[in-house]
């Protein structure tokens, strides 16, 4: 879902919204590098035996991300995914191991969500994007035509490395899971190079923590809060967190329904919530955050209960808050009236 990338970062807000950490002891030197890939900025902060060692490891991790972009990109005509999408759909196609693996993970989340998470939704995204550029809404006929191409059940995996499409027009778009998957693999590279303390980020929407900074329990991550009243936080250690939110409405025009498409309705989902999801891996948090935005808090809390090691928080601009967890803690920080500063829930919500 590369259209995601057109969404703005409100970074100047982020930089003033954060509070200082409680850590006061001197920090070991760390390496901080960033890299443009997959249409966004990847960043890694890493502690190593020496800055030089950490820097080499980070460079290697970035190379892995670029390699995966060459596999998973639907923009690059020669990527493995583009070749798969443009191949003959009448017979199975062999794909590289990473592409097979990420599609397999994506289909697992499609099953888990009853099809709300669907990597075949790309044609609908493109339809809406093109229509809105032209200042209009896609017609019912256009939507119906494209919806015929959408459906994760139209993708079949044939172990060990082949993909069979069961529709002549189905296409895969890994935008809702690819960055998380790339972070997982980049973390593997860092580990293999002796790095155990690192924070990896993909465009602000998915963050993966390895270990913890020296002297701390984890990496403090403030979560997206459209109300500016809740200040939710997580202390991440060997987990990941992702955030999803529909595109904000246009200020000057009526044709901006949003970039996240509900596959059931064939149209952009209408929701006021921003959702942040904690999970054990980058691909899990990435996929689940989109899923939980699409299903909403009511069904989402049930889903969270059924997946180990997941926590989620839904926050609307007016401060409406829902929480669910099957393990990890999401902390509520400054200023949420009537809320404890530390909330632990197995499931359920708060208002």
């Amino acid at each position: 879902m590369r259209w995601n990338n057109a969404l703005a970062a409100v970074l100047f807000c982020a930089s003033v919204a954060v509070a200082p950490t409680e850590a006061s002891q001197p920090q070991s030197p760390f390496v901080h590098k960033k890299k443009f890939a997959m249409g966004t900025v990847f960043e890694i902060v890493a502690y190593g035996e020496s800055p030089a060692q950490a820097r080499k490891a980070v460079d290697q991790a970035f190379r892995e991300i670029v390699r995966l972009d060459d596999v998973m990109s639907d923009y690059q005509a020669n990527s493995a995914l583009s070749r798969l999408n443009h191949s003959s759909h009448s017979r199975p196609q062999s794909v590289p191991p990473d592409l097979y693996r990420v599609i397999r993970e994506a289909l697992q989340y499609s099953d888990l969500s009853g099809g709300k998470f669907d990597v075949t939704v790309g044609p609908l995204v493109n339809l809406w994007k093109a229509a809105i550029r032209g200042g209009r809404t896609p017609s019912s006929a256009e939507q119906d035509k494209v919806r015929a191409c959408v459906g994760y059940q139209k993708v079949e995996l044939l172990p060990p490395d082949r993909v069979q499409f069961h529709s002549p027009c189905v296409q895969i778009d890994l935008g809702a899971i690819g960055k998380g998957y790339a972070l997982d693999r980049a973390a593997d590279v860092l580990r293999s190079r002796g790095i155990s303390r690192a924070l990896l980020d993909a465009g602000g929407s998915t963050t993966l923590a390895m270990g913890a900074p020296p002297g701390q329990a984890g990496w403090l991550v403030h979560l997206r809060d459209p109300s500016n009243r809740v200040d939710p936080q997580v202390v991440l250690s060997d987990r990941s967190v992702s955030t999803s939110e529909q595109t904000p409405p246009s200020l000057l025009s009526r044709a901006s329904p949003g970039h996240i498409i509900d596959p059931d309705k064939g149209a952009p989902v209408r929701t006021p919530f921003a959702v942040s999801t904690v999970a054990n891996t980058g691909s899990a948090s990435d996929a689940l955050s989109t899923t939980l935005l699409l299903v909403g808090p009511e069904k989402g809390k049930e889903l969270v209960k059924n997946v180990a090691g997941v926590a989620a928080i839904w926050i609307s601009p007016d401060g409406h808050l829902q929480l669910a967890s099957s393990g990890p803690q999401i902390l509520l920080g400054g200023g949420a009236p009537g809320l404890a500063t530390r909330v632990e829930t197995d499931s359920g919500g708060l208002r």
């Binding site: 390496v31 980020d201 246009s250 000057l252």
Partner: protein
């Protein structure tokens, strides 16, 4: 980010006046700031001019002995003392750093300096600039690494285009002169200084925006140059290549191309939105309400008005719209003449008034989401009036310039990602020749133009940091 708005506005107004008195037309360059006591000879460095703090008297003398022309930087409040102690023959110019001083004090100091050194250029520095860079989401603090999640964001670019364009209008007598402090979070960078590419990007940006820059050389680089460390000289050679590329003789010949006019009476009202205009390659020009006349809006297809229109401005706006223009009025409530017509809901919080052949959209409040606002503005420009479009270039800012005569156009490009990428460009107008230059290949590669209606398309095979495209042999589409 701007500090106290009213203070800045006052200071800006005063500076506008005093800069008119202190005009130094034709100034346009990047000056290196030196802070370390040891300094290599100018002939060895291949650099003629340096900026040195006036307080570092010994360093000024040393720099002059080493063959440099020295610009003394003085803070507001030091002018009187400086005029008593420093011979004019010691200096090539003066840079006045206003810091957070009161406008009256700035004016006083500038007057004193101009009186004491009538033959020297006295330049006012804007120290509010940012290090040009592609930013991520991590916020590095002294006591930890912080992160705020968000929906997936396209790369955030810290650029100084908005600052330069505002300075050009609010400080019209002086080419914008700015400096920034390096944003070094990485422990190795803190020790050894910015990468060579960071220096290149800073120089490229100033050149592309036709602004002047005081470039802070990291202390380690200065020391290594003095010690004759080979790696430092590699960095300096690249900086000099960038300087040569960014200071072409034609710098002041061309004018920024813009079909979006931004009418504002204060930095703080418009800064963030037009910062995002730059980010989205919307060519804009800034105007003050007092500068409006019947002809001043002819070049534009769309106006964005941040100033509350007085009767004069409202008339100009209505005239512009009645001829077919589109106006977006931000944060003003009226009453205005066009409000006698029917209001049509536009966006969630905005209404539009058809006015003659055009329309006026009113957004009642301030722009709380500059990114969305900039994307809206981009969408509101008719497709056949878009001055420039880029593809596969989320980290690139392109600034088109028109050369008098209309048969030639320049496009300056900066890639903030600092890594080579191919860029597809579409420019309004028909041109038969496209030449592409970079600091490492100043002249040049011929690119193949493809005509698409009233537009010329071409592909830049590799843009690393700085690039300049010269389009000739054709006609640009008249407004």
């Amino acid at each position: 980010m701007m500090a106290s708005g009213s203070l800045i506005l006052m200071r800006t107004q005063v500076l506008t006046l005093v800069c008119l008195l202190a005009a130094t037309p034709g100034w346009s360059k990047v000056l290196l700031r030196w802070t370390q006591s040891s300094i290599p000879p100018a002939a060895t460095m291949g650099i003629k001019e340096l900026v040195v703090s006036w307080e570092a008297g010994a360093l000024i003398k040393n720099a002059r002995r080493q063959g440099y022309r020295v610009f003394a930087e003085v803070s507001v409040g030091q002018a009187e003392e400086m005029t008593k102690e420093t011979e004019k023959s010691d200096l090539a110019g003066i840079v006045l750093n206003p810091g957070n001083s009161q406008p009256g004090q700035i004016e006083l100091d500038l007057h004193q300096l101009r009186s004491a050194y009538p033959a020297l250029p006295v330049l006012v520095l804007n120290a509010q600039a940012k290090q040009p860079q592609m930013k991520g989401q991590l916020v590095i603090k002294k006591d930890g690494v912080l992160q705020v999640t968000s929906p997936t964001a396209q790369p955030w670019i810290d650029s100084n285009l908005a600052l330069v364009r505002l300075d050009q209008v609010f400080r019209p007598a002086q080419t914008p002169l700015y400096e920034f402090q390096w944003d070094l979070s990485d422990s190795l960078q803190q020790e050894y200084g910015p990468n060579t590419a960071d220096y290149s990007l800073a120089v490229a940006e100033a050149g592309a925006f036709h602004a002047d820059l005081i470039l802070n050389l990291h202390p380690r680089l200065q020391t290594d140059l003095s010690r004759n460390a080979p790696a430092a000289w590699v960095v300096l050679r690249q900086i000099k290549r960038d300087l040569a590329f960014s200071s072409p003789g034609s710098k002041n010949v061309s004018e920024p191309e813009a079909n979006v006019g931004v009418i504002t009476d204060a930095y703080q009202k418009s800064y963030e939105p037009i910062n995002l205009f730059g980010r989205h390659n919307i060519p804009f020009a800034v105007l003050k309400p007092s500068d409006l006349n019947p002809q001043s809006l002819d070049a534009f297809d769309l106006l964005v008005v941040f100033a509350v229109p007085d009767e004069h401005t409202a008339t100009r706006i209505a005239d512009f719209a009645s001829k077919g223009g589109l106006v977006v009025l931000v944060g003003a409530h009226g009453p205005f003449p066009w409000q006698s017509g029917q209001a049509i809901p536009a966006g969630e919080h905005s209404v539009a008034y058809p006015t003659g052949k055009g329309r006026i959209i009113e957004l009642p409040g301030p722009v709380i989401d500059p990114e969305t606002f900039a994307q809206d503005i981009r969408r509101l420009i008719d497709k056949d009036k878009v001055e420039i479009s880029l593809w596969n270039a989320l980290t690139v800012i392109a600034v088109p310039y028109r050369v008098p005569g209309g048969r030639e156009k320049l496009v300056e490009l900066i890639n903030y990602a600092q890594e080579p990428i191919p860029v597809q460009v579409q420019v309004r107008g028909s041109f038969s020749s496209v030449l592409y230059a970079t600091p490492d290949r100043p002249c040049c590669d011929s690119l193949t133009p493809v005509q698409r209606g009233e537009f010329t398309e071409f592909v830049i095979p590799s843009l690393r940091i700085a690039g300049r495209v010269r389009l000739t042999g054709g006609r640009s589409t008249a407004h």
